[in-house]
Symmetry: C2
Subunit: 263 residues, 2 copies
Amino acid sequence: MSTHENPIGPGEVWLVGAGPGDPDLLTRKAEKLIRAASIVFYDALVGPGVLDLIPAGTKRISVGKRSGRHSKDQDSINDLLVRAALAGERVVRLKGGDPSIFGRSAEEMASCADHGVAVRICPGVTAASAAAASAGASLTLRGLARKLTFVTAHARAGEALELDWAALADPAATIAIYMGKAAAREMSARLIAHGLAGDTPVLLAANASLPDEQLLRTRLDLLPVAAAVIADDAAVIMLVGAAVAGSGASTTRQAAARADAEA
Amino acid sequence: MSTHENPIGPGEVWLVGAGPGDPDLLTRKAEKLIRAASIVFYDALVGPGVLDLIPAGTKRISVGKRSGRHSKDQDSINDLLVRAALAGERVVRLKGGDPSIFGRSAEEMASCADHGVAVRICPGVTAASAAAASAGASLTLRGLARKLTFVTAHARAGEALELDWAALADPAATIAIYMGKAAAREMSARLIAHGLAGDTPVLLAANASLPDEQLLRTRLDLLPVAAAVIADDAAVIMLVGAAVAGSGASTTRQAAARADAEA
């Protein structure tokens, strides 16, 4: 993107990953797009420091709630984006994390496509990567966690989660659970019932990368208790699996040696 | 990070995600760390535009190959990082994508821990997010793909992949396969044998986000053919599942409507 040319054409929409919250974890491209927009729509999950990068003259509109957002709200957001684009605005839609991971970007793209509005995506750092980085842990581990699964556990009160528990309960994998605080008890019970050990390491992260970040190490059987003490209103991610135990040097080396021996 | 203070202390190591290749997809934090380092170790997967950001006076050392890297090489890298830190350097270890996803960061952290070297992680944009963004696709889709699984399919010639195929072959999920070009035939055959439809959408991306990016849309039964025509030396990511079919507006809306009806 040349500095002489606006990277967003009038009537174009960019879905931009705002990353986990720390404005320094925004990409250079996202920063350029934010500075080039004439209007910015943003989620509650977008960090305040990121919003500070929006130039003073740019229109900014808050959309969406942290959780419990209904489809009606999503329809309104789709409409707002399309209407702004059709009015000739240079539109940035800021989304917490990466737009392609539990970001409903497909719905916004479909709506733009319906109205002939050009839409593009700028990827971002997802919350699981930020939580692992803050904790000094890896999400994968050679010989110990060769698979990483992202799920969303955003169920309504009283409803069971529709997840393939047997497939999830793999001791050689890491599970990253987005929006799962309310479902912590069910996740813990089901994963244990399907074979994961009660002492499987768990890392809970709230507001990862932000000044009020909370990191809590626990084990799968104690996850419901730990989730209950994490700040109520926070964006929480739960990482489950041997890899996230952190800088367990001897475990890491043993696993790597085993992987080498098998290879 | 204040501009008056170096964010890397002497003798400290930062494992830094370099993102998918485009220097604009580097985080602002990664850029600051690169500019603050006295020595930078980097992978073959780190984009040339990213390396251009290393100041002229900074030592730069290429480590690792694109694939087939042996553990001996990893041990050498671990040693190099530790030795540089113990010599008082401000060390940045640049890794393609995100350090926590198939980046062997746990092994480098363990090695640093062994020698009392402080080590921290700066997360990055992973290749799957970049490939989806380039293709205008989402990795998850409400009502259609509620799960996203990252696997690495880096097997040696003649060896079978050790993956739980039954768990992977979930039609309501997206699979992101890293380093899997050589295993494309086996992946395709096994996933179909375990129940995925032959016409499951596949997106192949080579060098996502770079000027020589290649994007190829195909279907699971044709994946081996498609993988064979992707540039030989390229970093390839394979995305499998209904979500990656792209801006299929009617599919997206139908899936969202179904999710709403179920909720």
